[in-house]
Subunit: 445 residues, 4 copies
């Protein structure tokens, strides 16, 4: 198959701290061979221009027969950053349990309130995490460690790691955090320090490149459908009732799209990837008017980052370095009200923002299983001396991904995919979002 | 006990359309004697100045041996008004089932979108309600009839009732709606029409006078605790995290108080009945500062009508005739932010408004049983020719209450009761809400 | 008050350890006057032959201005007995919090695994209960202390109490346990010991005399309706599908009846109070045959103690001293199968026994509020030197009830009440359970 | 592609009714090219001896530009067979919606009560399915069509299909049903009839060969964890409490294993694939004794088909042709009781069988999305003239699979996989299930 030989994919090699020469303390299990790579066909969306998606080789996650660290002597630290997401506690728990029960690791430390927890001036104490202290945390949402937004100096963090003699840093966080992890990894490398930096991608928006589905996403969608069901009930409860639900999704509309597929009551889903218009022949407002005349109610799901092209941008950024978004839900509400009033149409808008209710629930079973594997595989990778990487599930396989690769761009909905076609089919919003087709017969999720 | 003889209670007599001379079609059951009255000791809060709460006599709800209407010839109509509340569909279902299966009533009609549905210019069609068409509606929240806010002319409504030859009007609604029902009842009486007007009190705020607990309240509290749990999780997830949950309660803080008792994570509950201060020795802000210093997080539950004394009033009213409330949650957020910034305290506020999520869920089992009884008793009362009344449960007994009595004032939390004491005990907010005691050893709910 | 003097009600006086001469440490609150009694009209079912239900006077629960114990010096113990029930942990938590935060009690001890925990030979260690150790237990079902069935010698228990210098014993349990508590109380009295014995009635069957609704019952009904919904779905899923759900209820069918009212899909509810027949003109089997011919599916809810008149009794008793019940569900299944096979009717039976799933869930909000009050009032009563009593809610008021009164008989469904009539109306099972009416217009629940 | 030619995989070609020459009525969308095949690397478990798992080519699901049927003239029928499973109604709904809205199909018919519905002697009427009649069915569990077990003569079914002029038969069912579908397909082929037979694999056991995860499985696991949580609570609630939960899984322990990973409280998971022993050095009973001595409680999850090697086999088969299984839960209960009694260990066993509660709940969001795609893709395949196949998701891609391939064997847990290793890690049951390793670094689920 000569054509495949020419195919250029992204660089999927994983950095290591050095040769793994210590025998693994795991006795019961088979091990992943050191040089094993498995081919996975990914979505074109995950790739850069000019890369091919065929048979990209990834390093499988899993325990290695020979490891780098003397696990009984090494200390690990866990830090959780950014907004809440279902399953963080499950990942923490799995790391602690794996480190303690299987690798008999010297200690697992919990850094409080995100990267701040490394910086002495904030005065946060470091927690000792034990099987006992984490045994029930999966029954609660949030993060037992606390979180914060925003970066800290990589130098300060590596100072702190060296000061506390920490050999492994587990970083649970999203795009910004993984970029910070990459800088920490580079600072470690610059100093020649023996510290493994392992990320676990956390993003309720599901927008991490190459990560098929991030943990907590499934739970978030489940919870989001509750809000949509309520919006539908409210819409039905009034003459020309309009239920609007704002869901997470700064740059990618995955939750909005998936929740729309899960609960078929949505009439319009507005996502950042779709530059919809309010007015004109493809405008939301005239389409909504038609819908109300025909059915007397409507449900709109809008991702928080949708419609930014209709809003003036402040140009400000928040603590995480994210651009402060224009307020699409206020715009929608006022534009709809104005438009329908002008036409003398009695109507009622009920607006629901379930954001924090979705973010803070405990993970469902599916995410719990997922988080359990992520935590275990993160420990396996760290013990083997891997670094500068994240563990993730890519099309059903647990693999190692370089931090560089997952942070080089955000994952977005493919507007030409079968998946998006199914979303449009479910809402019937062809009037405002005509299907654009290039032919990608992949389900993004 | 001679003092009791002098005690003057409220007028609890129920109006009737005329003597009940038709034998009930119900064959299987015992009947409530026509002149039966039962004594119930109510809370002083339910009464007016000068009235005594001892042994007030109420007419029990239930089937009568002799009824007023020839049930197989009479048509009934159901109308639902105001905001959504869990259980409306259950009440509709129970009325339809009782009317059809037990009284073999000629027809039960559904008026669409509240009192508007009576007014031809709105063009709403009347629905025929059958056991088949209502059989599954209890699995869905909201009202299958739709609702609207605001009154219509009583004359127009009685015109519509007479035009459609409707003998019984079931009105499901809150304070404003029951006042409207009272005017309809008066217009009916003025015309000497043979139309029974029976209310079923619906208020998610639980603020109907004498009604111990309105349907849907229990479900609302259950759902509200979910939001509080999320606020707590969010508060724990950040340094000096502050979770604020706004709950329903325009003039009465029942949901806020009961949800606080149900989930012990609330540190401050702010209700309309309590004129708390932001600043000063009893101020919320200094108390919150102390709380954060001690525990690093806090949860605040605020009823939507709380703190109006701190806000400028617009003086405007909404479609239901309710005063447009000042925005206490914005005030809280900005005041807290300002106060803590001034003191250099890093903090994060997460604000949750679960209002429509709470209002639109299906009723829980407890409310379903309750709604089932309310619907049945409403039909029994109507068939017996009772009018100008509501059915309700008062301290565990189903009774008839005159419309006049339930609308003469709003029920409020008794700030001197054991109940409120328990709320304060749960939050520990004595610094801002010192207990005022006059000694009412009653549980309001 | 001459008329009341003639009325003979049950003895509702509460025993005390002695005069209350110590000032309460509670400073913020009003107190219940020492001699206050409130009249409550109870159901005839709660009374013995010859007693009248009018205006029975009960001692209200609540804090007293003068208390018996020096609360900072007294130690309390909590023991939980019998089967699980939602809310036990909430009661434990409320007792510990009230004892600690408001009375500053010296210690609250947790006895492990029921009354066994007092007996040295079992080797169970006593736990120290602190606000910290109980802070999250309400999020979990069951009892953090463990439980066991069966009595222990009262002498041994009082020995243990004296040995550990325990001044207050909180006993959370059902009929058998409260009888044991009464014996402990009598042994304490015989010895002249200064130990208060306070019960909190726990029975998922809701069969404690005079206790309007026991804690956990509401949650149990909610959970039971889930099983009924599943049985209905299974019944609909097969030709002549029959879903049978066995619910708790050894001697009283409260859960079965209430769940039937909450979910209207039940066609037959079989309770211990109703001596239904399988065969003959009022027989379940011919009625079921008709039902299947008409509707092709049926749902049967059966309380575990129903139909004992159709079964041979073993005469054995279990560890709790309860008679081992005959297996009604096996009888039903085999009789239905035989009967329908004989008639050549294809059918499918799906049998669901959700017992332990119902018993072990956490309490819902309603029960949480209730359990919170029960725990607080139990502590108030104990501190005031009350003994030989339980705290309970009777028709909306929290009162003290003598142990003697609540254990003198079991509460049962009144087959002549409006409540049972509503149950029959919901199922339509008049063919097998003709309504017997004597005229009790009370809602039992 | 010479290297692939040598690799011998299973035959994945899909049969067709004939050339597709009619233009698809779908205008908005891109189409799957007719000859497209995509490579997927499957688990060795999915294959037969001698087959290779590398790069097996599958036909992608999706709409084709040219279709076989004149969709506006063809009638389709849907039949649901076997036990209930969450999501059946969602699949029905998706088929009806796709057929109606996108292909404008002449009619979609619902066959009542499984394959029986085709046989006149049973007298079941065929239902007409419309968007209106299926619009709400996804909110309810079960199947709106009813189901039955057991085969019918393929000739009779094809007679019925021809009689009713049905061009497409959608069969929703498990292994036995798909074998029946294969026979129907063969009978159709023998007659040269123009009837497409399309299966949608339904198995709550998740045991269909090559189907990565069957619909409803995720919901079933979620619901199963509730029962496990209850068993854990019950186990904690008694001295040496043992909670036993029986879960579905006749030949494969997927639900048991996945639920164990989702809720970490399970101490022993017993699956059909693992020939565990009760007695002896690797016996469950001595291990349980140790566990109880150490922790005083234990949770056992047992798949219904586990431990058959310990039971006498009746050799009988049920209506579906499945072997009647020996009763492992009774064996466990009696063996445990006997063993512990012999050793004088007080203990309590609580046994939970949540089977019908799990099978009959509505699908969760994840399964809803999945079912929606399965229904749509089934219609696309049928319209394109594909037949003798099922639609399924295989490692993240929706594909067509020949009926022959999915029915040639049952999927089982790979006892040498990372997945099973993670299960053992979670329970710690190495004493009874020593890890066997051959090195399959795949996650089965």
């Amino acid at each position: 198959m000569p054509s495949r030989a020419k195919a250029k994919g992204p660089d999927t090699r994983i950095a290591t701290l050095g040769p793994a020469r210590i025998e693994s303390p795991l006795t019961y299990c088979h091990f992943v061979p050191d040089d094993m790579m498995i081919p996975i066909r990914v979505s074109p969306e995950d790739l850069d221009e000019g890369e091919t998606e065929n048979d990209i080789l990834f390093e499988p996650a899993g325990p290695r027969a020979n490891i780098y660290f003397d696990s009984s002597k090494v200390k690990a630290a866990i830090v959780t950053c950014g907004g809440l997401c279902p399953g963080i506690n499950d990942v923490i728990r799995a790391i602690v349990m794996e480190a303690h029960h299987n690798y008999n690791m010297a200690a697992t430390l919990g850094i409080r309130f995100g990267l701040q927890g490394f910086i002495p001036k904030y005065g946060h104490e470091i927690m000792e995490l034990t099987p006992q202290s984490v045994s029930n945390i999966h029954e609660f949402g949030g993060t037992m460690l606390g979180s914060s937004r925003g970066p800290q100096q990589p130098e300060d963090i590596v100072d702190a790691l060296e000061r506390s003699n920490i050999g492994v840093l587990f970083v649970i966080g999203g795009d910004g955090t993984l970029k910070a992890a990459r800088k920490i990894h580079e600072e470690v490398a610059k100093r020649g320090a023996r510290i493994s930096v392992i990320g676990v991608p956390k993003t309720i928006d599901n927008d991490i490149n190459l990560v098929t589905q991030s943990f907590g996403f499934d739970t978030a969608v489940e919870k989001a459908t509750e809000a949509i069901r309520c919006a539908h009930t409210e819409a039905l409860g009034a003459m020309n009732g309009i239920g609007i639900v704002k869901l997470m999704g700064r740059e990618s509309g995955f939750i909005a799209a998936q929740a729309t597929l899960a609960l078929k009551e949505v009439n319009y889903v507005l996502v950042p990837e779709d530059n919809f218009q309010l007015h004109g022949v493809h405008g939301l407002l005239p389409s909504l008017e038609e819908r109300l005349k025909a059915r007397k109610h409507a449900v709109i799901v809008v991702a928080e980052g949708a419609g930014q092209h209709l809003l003036e941008q402040s140009g400000h950024t928040d603590a995480s370095g994210n651009l402060v978004l224009g307020d699409i839900s206020s715009l929608l509400t006022s534009e709809i009200t104005g438009y329908l009033k002008e036409r003398g149409m009695q109507h009622t808008i009920k607006y629901i923002d379930p954001s924090y209710i979705i973010r803070s629930v405990p993970a469902n079973s599916n995410d719990r299983v997922y988080c359990g594997f992520l935590g275990q595989f993160a420990v396996h990778a760290a013990m083997a001396g891997k670094t500068g990487m994240v563990v993730s599930k890519v099309y059903g396989r647990y693999v190692h991904l370089p931090l560089e690769l997952v942070t080089r761009k955000r994952k977005k909905l493919d507007m030409t995919s079968d998946y998006w076609r199914a979303v449009l089919e479910s809402t019937g919003q062809y009037a405002i979002s005509p299907m654009v087709s290039k032919g990608s017969p992949f389900c993004t999720i």
